[in-house]
């Protein structure tokens, strides 16, 4: 019992936490909704009043305060007054209706705004390992569709539920004041309508899901065929693709048709039930009228009340039947919202980072992995040295450098920058000083210029120095682009540095992206730079050019380079060979060649140069 109770409390918190700060708007809107239903249910009473008190001489159920307003000595005057009163009330009603819509609009958008921002901030601050396991599509769905589901629920569906409850309540109250027996006949069948809708929409969910799945399958086929058109054409599989798409398309059609049939049955069926309600009320009304229990003023009023409540009840059933969706959405949102940020409880210590790096027995393992990715790594690097890290795919190279900027946290041993353990260095501070350039760098969908200058804070913030800092940023951007051998590429674009990159603009080649990533890192000098195979997609000649240009730039920088190209590695002051998460060899190029180990093997595979050259030379001479 207590567990269940606790769960319930959680649900309420889960539901209301996103509304904080905006609840006053919501309550005002709800009060207006209630008042509006009161007004709305008065219309049939106006009718009854006209028929009974103006045309005939029988009392009606119109509230006294209103009746007093329309007393006059002639029928015409009375009718003018009642028509004016009605229009005046309509005006009031319309104004309130507008206010309540605005209130809800403001409320809903504020809630959505708050949710989006909170989720975005949360996502950015979640740890790197969270992101490596998360599925982008799913996360985006949560931040968009699930937010929307909740927004629609509080702003529209919940309001609709409240509206209908009060609409029905007021209608029943007025109807009872006219005639209790007739009231009963007027709502007799309505529970059936509501229940039918509720059950239907709960049952039909699985069909909906099937349709969605089939549609998704069809869309995937389409998308893959379009993005893979080269493969399709190169293998002459056009016919196969057409047939595959047609198959998925037909399956979707078939499933969608099933849904259509169910919809047709539901809507026509419930229409029928609604008319059964009318038939019952009309028949019983006629019978009651013949007994003199109700008159010609009451009967149409009842018909009006029935019209007000039967149609929306079907909708109510749908909303309640769909309620589960909102709960699922909230659960999914909580999964993001309840995660802790990687910056919580982080050290605030910001020591100067000069460039001396030391690994002492560092080990790392993912929680869900059964074996460590890195074991007992130790080495020491002096300020300004360059270190190459080589090894096969999966040997732990990327993990090692991720540890250096605390994208991952080592469980064993310690990593020290100028003698300070990195756990005692503020993460953001650390990352600001240790630059990392990735193999598949991410470019933001902005201009090339903005992408290169993205780390320059002054440009966007301090207005006073703006002119000067923009000028200096210009120089820096061009200089960085030149060093990265990018300037000429950019000049070839139609819009030069103003070219927008990514989905909405130009797609850069892998090599161009890598070079932008390098240029971006050169805007500010950093004591430590890490290249994670970040020239792999650049052609050899450009690679050499860039590395030459960088050398002048490096000077006092400690540089780590992960690479598959042995010719790159051999230039480093120190080479570390990783194998299965361990340092298997370490030393200079010559030392490692002489060791005749893994490095030498790599060297021989890649070069064959001496062999080739000797052979050729011998042939020539």
């Amino acid at each position: 019992m207590s567990i269940q109770k606790k769960k319930k409390v959680n649900r309420i918190h889960q539901f209301t936490k996103w509304l904080k700060g905006n609840t006053h708007l919501y309550f005002m809107a709800i009060i207006l909704v209630i008042v509006l239903q009161y007004f709305r249910t008065l219309l049939p009473l106006f009718f009854q009043y006209i028929v009974n008190e103006v045309v005939g001489n029988i009392p009606s159920a119109l509230p006294d305060f209103m009746r007093n307003l329309v007393q006059a000595d002639t029928i015409k005057k009375q009718l003018i007054l009642i028509a004016l009163l009605y229009v005046a009330f309509a005006l009031l009603r319309v104004i309130l209706m507008f206010i309540r819509r605005v209130l809800i609009g403001v409320f809903a958008e504020r809630v959505a705004y708050k949710m989006r921002n909170r989720l975005y901030e949360k996502l950015q601050n979640l740890s790197f390992s969270y992101h490596t396991h998360a599925e982008t599509g799913d996360l985006i769905q949560r931040c968009t569709t699930d937010v929307e589901t909740y927004r629609v629920f509080v702003a529209e569906q919940l309001i609709e539920i409240i509206r209908l409850i009060f609409l029905v309540t007021f209608s029943i109250i007025w109807m009872s004041r006219i005639n209790v027996e007739m009231m009963f006949y007027s709502v007799m069948v309505t529970p059936v309508i509501f229940t039918a809708a509720l059950v239907y929409f709960m049952k039909v969910k699985s069909v909906f899901k099937n349709v969605e799945e089939k549609e998704a399958k069809m869309t995937t086929t389409l998308q893959e065929s379009v993005t893979g058109i080269r493969v399709v054409k190169a293998f002459a599989k056009e016919k196969y693709e057409i047939e595959k798409f047609d198959k998925h398309s037909k399956e979707y059609l078939k499933e969608d048709f099933k849904l259509l049939k169910l919809m047709a049955i539901f809507w026509s069926g419930t229409d029928f039930v609604i008319f059964v309600q009318y038939a019952v009320a009309i028949t019983m009304g006629i019978v009651l009228a013949s007994q003199g229990k109700i008159g010609v003023g009451e009967f149409p009023a009842f018909l009006m009340y029935i019209g007000m409540i039967v149609w929306p009840l079907r909708q109510l059933g749908r909303i309640v039947g769909d309620f589960g969706k909102t709960i699922v959405a909230l659960d999914r949102l909580d999964e993001i919202d309840n995660k802790t940020s990687e910056h919580d409880n982080d050290s605030t210590n910001k020591p100067e980072i000069k460039g001396e790096v030391e690994f002492r027995n560092v080990g790392f393992q993912f929680e869900d992995d059964y074996q460590p990715l890195l074991k007992d790594i130790s080495f020491k690097v002096k300020k300004g040295e360059s270190i190459a890290i080589v090894g096969r795919t999966g040997s732990g190279k990327s993990t090692l450098i991720n540890l250096m900027v605390r994208l991952l946290e080592n469980q064993h041993g310690g990593i020290y920058f100028d003698g300070v353990n990195i756990k005692d260095i503020n993460k953001k501070h650390l990352r600001e000083h240790v630059g990392i350039i990735m193999q598949e760098p991410f470019l933001y969908s902005r201009t090339v210029y903005d992408n290169i200058g993205i780390m320059d804070k002054n440009a966007s913030q301090e207005k006073v120095y703006q002119a000067a800092s923009i000028a200096s940023l210009h120089n820096k951007v061009y200089q960085a682009a030149s060093i990265a051998s990018l300037h000429n590429d950019i000049k070839k674009f139609e819009r030069g540095y103003e070219t927008i990159v990514g989905e909405r603009g130009v797609t850069l080649s892998g090599g161009q992206k890598q070079r932008v990533a390098i240029a971006r890192m050169l805007i500010h000098s950093k004591p430590v730079l890490i290249f994670d195979d970040s020239l792999s997609a650049v052609d050899t000649e450009t690679d050499i050019q860039i590395r030459k240009a960088l050398k002048d730039f490096w000077d006092n920088t400690t540089v780590f380079i992960i690479t598959h190209r042995i010719t790159t590695a051999m230039e480093a002051d120190k080479i570390i060979v990783l194998d299965k998460g361990e340092v298997s060899e370490m030393g200079t190029h010559e030392e490692l060649i002489n060791k005749k180990g893994i490095y030498n093997e790599l060297w021989e595979i890649q070069s064959n140069v001496e062999y080739d050259y000797d052979k050729i030379n011998k042939g020539v001479k």
Binding site: V51, R101, V102, T136, G228, F235, A236, S290
Partner: protein, 615 residues
Amino acid sequence: MDFYEEEEYTESKFDFLVWKKIFGHMKPLKKHLIIGMSAAIGLAIIDTLYPLINKYAIDEMVETGSIDKLPFFIGFYVVVMFSIMILVYTFIMHAGQIQQKLSYILRKKAFKRLQELPFSYYDRTPVGWIMARMTSDSRRLSDILSWGLIDLSWGLLTMVGITIVVLVINWQLGLILIGMLPIIMLLSIYFRRRILRSYRHIRKENSKITGSFNEGITGAKTTKALVLEDRNFQDFDRLTSSMRRHSIRAAMFAGLYFPSILFVASIATGLIMYYAGYEASIYDKIAGIGITVGTLYVYINYVGQFFEPVMQLANILARFQQAQASGERIMDLIEQKPEIWDRPEVIEKYGDAINFKRENWEELKGEVEFNDVTFKYNKGETVLSNFNLKVKQGESIALVGHTGAGKSTIVNLICRFYEPTGGKIIIDGKDYKDRSLGWLHDNLGYVLQSPHLFSGTIMDNIRYGNTELSEYEVYKAAKLVEADDFIREFEDGYDTQVGEGGARLSVGQKQLVSFARALLANPKILILDEATSSVDTHTEKSIQRAIDTVLAGRTSFVIAHRLSTITSCDRILVLEDGKIIEQGNHKELIKLEGHYYKLYTNQFKSKAIEDSKNG
């Protein structure tokens, strides 16, 4: 990705031609349209006359207190109830089927056309654009041509019906009702248009927010490494703030719509109350003056009943323009002429790219010749001019040079993904345009730098080129490219799902799979475009071994940045600005000490070379 969904459209006039074309595609759905519309008309008639049934009950039975006519009345009512049920069912079934089948037809035709269109089309058309045409546009168009069209006929007829009925019963009261029509109509059209426009605007902002979330998630690692969290958040906040502002403004505007219509209707109700109330108070059946209470009820009822069709009509009219724009874009796609397509006489003999006539195909041997080939991209930039090259059957050719030297162009021309703008490409002694696309592509193997896999199992992907092959042959091919090991390491082995676009495999693994796939297709011409750039040195070496065995007897073209992978090719072409500046085998070119030598030694660093030179 839904950036292209809310594309701008000019507020153009009704375009008869577009609709004529679209209706051309609807021919098979004629039956549904006729039945659906008939049901809509039936419903409109019942909706119009229904209040009169209640009027009859009020005037003939409630007023008089007699129940003599009750059984007859109930009988009649039951008939009406069943008619409504049947008509609603028919209406939904047929409107729904038009919608479903029309979008099916449109998608099918567009997809077929997509398969026929050449690469140049894909070069200038983003995938997102195509997806939007195939999904949201086809939905929007088929919606309006099914539900829209049938609702339109219901709405129009109900309006006309009610107009006639209210005028016939009492034309003075009728005029009050009809007087409110144009006002409601104008208000509705005005509001609907504006609301639709602001809604589109908001959708656009929303897609920007989605894009931003996408960037925030896929770029998380980079953002962290560059410490750009705060900056990104500020940008994001700018987006969401603007969204909030616009949404609130739109909600306020939309919030005016229904109340203002309701107010117009309330004035009409007030007027009816006054006039009809007075008429009812002087009712005298014998003198023939005044109206009955039933009539009073009917008029008040009709005020309410007039809303729906009018609002419905305004809604359809407002959506119409958008649907026309959608229609234009879909028709544009379906009617797109493939620039590269076989001539009728070639199709006659060899079949086209979709339906093959294998029985007439000559065997492709693999002799390739470029004869004075000139090629210009659409943008006008000339890549090749008067290019000549002869490749013998079974020869392996490596293409070397800087980005933009023309390597990819040559390969694309061989594949006939593009056609020469001047000169000829001759395969086995005949211009390749004299044989069909299907013939060439069926004999081609192609491994790309960024390999593309289809969702499905690894098995499915490897035998993509030839679905008939046995599993044994798949294993063999996978072993040859040394992909077998990593595949078997997966829990489901060859039945492992690769995910959308092969997302569950690493780039290197995808490359190996695409390699096995190309081998299994048993191509006569094999093209490797940077195929080994993402595999580590060991794997690359083993692939190299596989290539060497597989290339034997096949004509092949290899593009590689890592020169170590091409040293065994029969002939290496060094390209610059679309011209061959050096050619020969590895040894010959090294001997030449020209461009290739420079490239090669650059890569393997002067050090070793210098050492051996001195030594």
